[in-house]
Amino acid sequence: MPLVKNGKIATDIYVHVADGAEIPADGAILVTAARFLEDSEALLQRPGKVGVIWPNNRDLDDLVPYLDRLAAVALVFPSFRDGRAYSQARLLRERYRFNGELRATGQVLRDQFVFMLRAGFDALDVKKEKDADAFAETVKRYTVFYQPTGDGRATALSRRTQLRHSESASP
Amino acid sequence: MTSPLEQKKIRITGPSVVTANRTHDGVVIYRTPQHGWSSRLADAAIVRTSDDARALLAEAVADDVGAIGSYIAPVEIKDNGEIAPGNLREHIRSEGLTIELPVPA
């Protein structure tokens, strides 16, 4: 499953540690929410980055207190038809100002890339090799966006009002 | 989506066919004994046991590129050997609408 990070195919530096498996002494790790909450302080104090896989049916409230010490949050699309993680992503980015890696995992397919980027994901665990290869051309598909989200792209409405403003300002 | 094979135990109570719609244009099609598809019910492979129905459906479902939504449908075999649709829905799929189209074909 190729990882696309900041627009490029990248090596995953995180070791996925299964529940019950031993935690490596150092290096970046990705653990489940249950594992993390069980022993958060110890995990955060060990050398190496910590990322948490947060399920899409769990409130973010339990995660929020740790956000500034987490290097990554992985949200889950058990099916590409289940859109709960889009809301979680926007909340993490836009409300809780999470600046670490926000990763989409699960059924991550080409035709949802643009939505994911707009919702604030910057790392995608892409399911199919071919989709990962097509990343660059896929995310160029759209140049017009109607909704303001945390990704900062100008909306159609703001472009229009700006245009109108500049028109009326010119002689 | 669960595959039609897993949806429920396949049990047929009479002669049946496997039908679907053709992917590129949506036309109603029937699985044939030659492991292909035909738009004519008369060409359909007839199965009479649940095992045969399951096998024919499995073969149809495997053709995900060519056909959509394969399922088992009942048919009636007339005395002259003609195959007729087994219920109103299949009758409409096979013979067309029960009303006149707004623009005659």
Binding site: F80, R81, D82, G83, R84, Y86, S87, Q88, R90, R95, L109, D111, V114, F115, M116, R118, A119, K130, R141, Y142, T143, V144, F145, Y146, Q147, P148, T149, T155, A156, L157, S158, R160, T161, R164, H165 | M1, N21, T23, H24, D25, G26, V27, V28, D64, V65, I68, G69, N87, L88, R89, I92, R93, G96, L97, T98, I99, L101, P102, V103, A105
Partner: protein, 551 residues
Amino acid sequence: MYAYDELDRTLLHERVEEFRDQVKRRLSGELTEDEFKILRLQNGVYLQLHAYMFRVAIPYGTLSSKQLRALAYVARRYDRGYGHFTTRQNIQFNWIKLAELPDALADLAEVGIHAMQTSGNNMRNVTSDQWAGVAPSEVEDPRIWSELLRQHTTLHPEFSFLPRKFKIAITASDHDRAAIRIHDIGLRLHKNADGETGFEVLVGGGLGRTPFIGKTIKPFVHGRDILSYVEAILRVYNQYGRRDNIYKARIKILVHELGIEKFGKEVEEEWQLLRDSALTLDDAAIEEVRSRFSYPAYEKLPHMPDELKQAAHDPLFERWRKNSVFPHKAQGYSIVTLSLKPVGGPPGDATAEQMDVIADLADRYSFGEIRVGHEQNLALPHVAKRDLPALWKALDKVGLATPNVNLVSDIIACPGLDYCSLANARSIPIAQELTRRFANHDTAGLIGRLHINISGCINACGHHHVGHIGILGVEKNGEEFYQITIGGRADESAALGTLIGPSVPYAEVADVVEDIVEAYLALRDSPDELFIDTVKRLGVEPFRERVYATR
């Protein structure tokens, strides 16, 4: 009319190209049907019994003559020469080939029409009053807000994979022609005590297996806050709406299970955190959208022109005028409803030829504008009264002047088992038989306003729950049976109908409906008492007794 600008057009073309690529990947086998299904649904493409069905959006029911001609072209070029107008201001084509769909979409995009989100579990076409902008005593044109919402809900990055479909309707009149109370979100535009424009927001309405009338979640949301408030509702729904059971996934179930107060509290909390954000509409943004709606330059015309006085001698014209012509906000003008319910015809269908004629008539008599209503009829919204006689003659020539608007043969019906893969029973032939039974316009006039709604299955596309008489097709041992309800309504006093008795077989439906109508004629306290009012006054029982006494 709303005029698309370069940005809207660019987005449409980008969408068409994306879909072209998706179709290509599907036909090559790169995408499985399971993966492709959601993508095609997001573009309004269903698979029906005989073929693919293609549903095109007509946002808030407004079409230009150019757009209607493009729909006629698509009907001819890619389909079988006709289209079907639905109860949600969409048009459906029944015989489209998947391989040709991208071309059809590209042709429609040329005139600013799209099929985005006309199906699938996302925010559907935003609908409104088909008389928006021309109805007398309207608060203001609700289409400004409909268009703001249309844009906001189009390809929304957070809400394109909701638990289930999501429908928004807007009205700005006291009389609700947009059926807002049976929508996931219903918006009623009104002014508060300070004269500011805003919305009463209703939530959780919907029909289907478990019908509910929408409940007020907030009596007044200021116009500038409407996007953030809708966003708050959707965010709560996206996170907490049920995804374990398709029949319990609509927002109405969440609202029902939590109760409107608890649900309202969740939304309020979310909204307080969202409201002061980029979603707030400033005056410039609202003005920007408003400025791209153009309105006709009405002439100063007499209330009663000579042409109308002369034509009044023709009883056929007069019958049509009294039935199909409605008051307009501008003096000397009328709104004209075009019945798509000819005797013996399938409700809501129009041929490509009819569409072209209507487009020409719209150019000549209605400033090039056409409207589509949820009753599956069309309207010409700005007809000078002096032109009514000429318009009537032209409409009559192509079968579009049936004087049955709002009468018993103005039936709303879904496509039913003749087309639809979900249906249990046929709808169209039932409607056709009923229009034949009530073909006599004098009798129909005597009966007065009476809405019959027919659905071929519990999904209720024909809105049977809110028909004055509702007919629902079910299957019993392989046979078509129909449950009949009375007393439903879809307007500002929306109510669900009550079952009148045991279901009846296909062949008896028209007889039962005739008996119900006869019972009404006997039971009403005066010729002015409408069917729906008689049912309300007396309840179902006296109808049940009369209709089922001999059955």
